[in-house]
């Protein structure tokens, strides 16, 4: 049991960290809706994996990468209406996921295999999945370091970067690809419907706490890891569902960050009034 818990803790830290980091980039590049669609495509893939007897993680990765590629091409070809196409993929993916669950032999949503896909599970982490997570982390960090100037240029101003000859589409595609793979690997812990709590709550909290881009990246990935780790420990201690607990912890952190920002803003204004 201790070995399973250690694996889960490690996976939680890595998933939270990666989700927080990729969430920062998709938010700054304004492709949040696109990544939302990729996440749902991963859920559809995992659900199909269930009825076709594939490992849900691998089928989720295949679906996530395919949708990232489709969205990447759409991003290149369409100047307007990308968000709407993205929403169409989101609804189609959700429909596929729900159909797949309905078509599977088990009709109870708490059944172990479906529970992993929908709500996440502490027991779902294996050594193999952990190694893949580590590899993805290494690849992601290498990508960010290798293309630091390119990515910084896009974070500053995407249109200007494109006008200067930067391959914006390729980097958007790469970011969606990483988002897809990271989401596919993370939903074992959080569940397909709650993975967004790790993807967007940490960056939203980081935005409340600092204005500096690199601090936002650092805080987003750190808060992601803290949310996942705390959620896991609390869920283990209180026997709560792991995905929902992680989502509640990350939402609480976001709320605290918002309250902290409001309090410091009020203090700053009071100080200004007294000057």
């Amino acid at each position: 049991m201790l070995e399973i818990l250690a694996l889960a803790l490690l996976a939680a830290v890595l998933s939270g960290n990666l989700c927080g980091a990729v969430g920062f980039y998709v938010q700054r590049l304004k492709i949040t809706t696109l990544s939302f669609s990729v996440a749902h495509a991963a859920l559809a893939g995992a659900s199909l994996g269930l009825i076709l007897n594939f490992d849900p993680v691998y089928s989720a990765i295949v679906f996530a990468i395919s949708s990232a590629l489709i969205l990447g091409v759409i991003f290149t070809k369409m100047q307007y209406g990308r968000e709407l196409v993205s929403m169409a993929i989101f609804s189609a993916s959700s429909a596929i996921a729900l159909f797949a669950i309905y078509m599977s032999n088990v009709r109870v949503l708490a059944t172990a295999s479906i529970a992993v896909v929908l709500w996440g599970s502490l027991l779902a982490v294996t050594v193999q999945k952990l190694i893949i997570l580590v590899l993805v982390l290494i690849l992601f960090v290498l990508y960010i370091l290798a293309y630091r100037m390119h990515i910084d240029s896009m974070l500053y101003d995407v249109k200007l970067a494109e006008a200067e000859g930067l391959n914006v589409q390729a980097h958007m595609l790469a970011m969606l690809f990483f988002a897809g793979v990271i989401i596919s690997l993370s939903f074992r812990l959080t569940g397909g419907f709650l993975v967004f709590a790790l993807l967007y709550n940490p960056v939203a909290a980081a935005l409340q706490l600092t204005r500096k881009a690199y601090m936002q990246l650092f805080l987003s990935s750190t808060l992601g890891a803290v949310s996942a780790l705390t959620g896991l420990v609390v869920s283990y201690a209180l026997d709560w569902p792991v995905g929902a607990t992680i989502a509640i912890v990350s939402s609480t952190i976001l709320l605290l960050a918002y309250l902290f920002k409001t309090a410091t803003e009020m203090a700053r204004k009071r100080k200004l009034r007294n000057v």
Binding site: H150, D152, S153, Y156, K159, E162, A163, E164, A213
Partner: protein, 234 residues
């Protein structure tokens, strides 16, 4: 007209429309800009000036006609290579107060498209950034976050970024909009000298023609998506 060797921009019967709009933003535009020329595009709001500039760079694609930048069709994937020879100053350049990138970093990022993986700036490139910053009077701002600067200072920064890249073509969209009188005179002079010395081309969109008109080789007037006067073959 047949394409010429030193054509930097060549638009042939170009029509452009924005997605969802039932009327074209630009109609049957013919324009040729060659090296060593400064072209001023003017006209009222909504005339299609920015659309024209973005079409030249391939950021907007024509639904009828052909647009070429350095002889490359803007629909081609090779357009990125042509864009690397260009610099752009967008109309909406002002960043919010919380934008923390420093002025130096923002100018450095203009070199990003020339850099391969893990490559950083050379000594020579950093020296050029320093030189251009001094030329535009922003050398004291290099380590300041962009969000803390005024609109005029931010505009000088994007112009410095554009010039640092040593472009063969400059595309400037309302580059005087936030500048004071002295700033307008300085930028006009620096840009026109750059065009002459480097045999580059500049296409400047401005509804205010005063600061630049004396340096312009060609003045193109637009209204309602059409060129209404001016020599389209500069």
């Amino acid at each position: 007209m047949p394409p010429l060797e030193n054509d930097i921009v060549n638009l042939e019967g170009v029509w452009v429309a924005y997605s969802g709009s039932d009327r074209p933003a630009m109609r049957n535009i013919n324009l040729r800009v060659s090296a060593g020329k400064l072209t001023l595009i003017t006209g009222p709001n909504g005339a299609g000036k920015t659309t024209l500039l973005e079409t030249c760079l391939g950021l907007l694609k024509p639904y009828r006609g052909r647009a070429y930048l350095f002889g490359v069709d803007t629909r081609s994937w090779r357009i990125r290579e042509a864009r690397k020879m260009c610099s752009f100053v967008p109309q909406d350049f002002i960043k919010p107060p919380f934008e923390a990138y420093t002025v130096r970093r923002i100018i450095q990022l203009g070199f990003a498209p020339y850099k391969s993986i893990f490559e950083s700036l050379t000594e020579k490139e950093n020296e050029r950034i320093q030189w251009v910053s001094e030329l535009l009077g922003i050398e004291d701002l290099l380590d300041r976050p962009i969000g803390t600067l005024s609109g005029g200072q931010q505009q000088r920064v994007v112009i410095a970024r554009a010039l640092s890249r040593k472009p063969r073509a400059l595309f400037l969209d309302e580059p005087f909009s936030s500048l004071d009188r002295e700033g307008r005179k300085l930028v006009s002079k620096v840009v026109s000298e750059y065009v002459r010395k480097k045999d580059a081309a500049a296409i400047i969109v401005s509804h205010d023609v005063n600061p630049i008109i004396k340096y312009a080789d060609t003045i193109v007037r637009m209204d309602n998506g059409k060129i209404i006067s001016g020599d389209c073959y500069a």
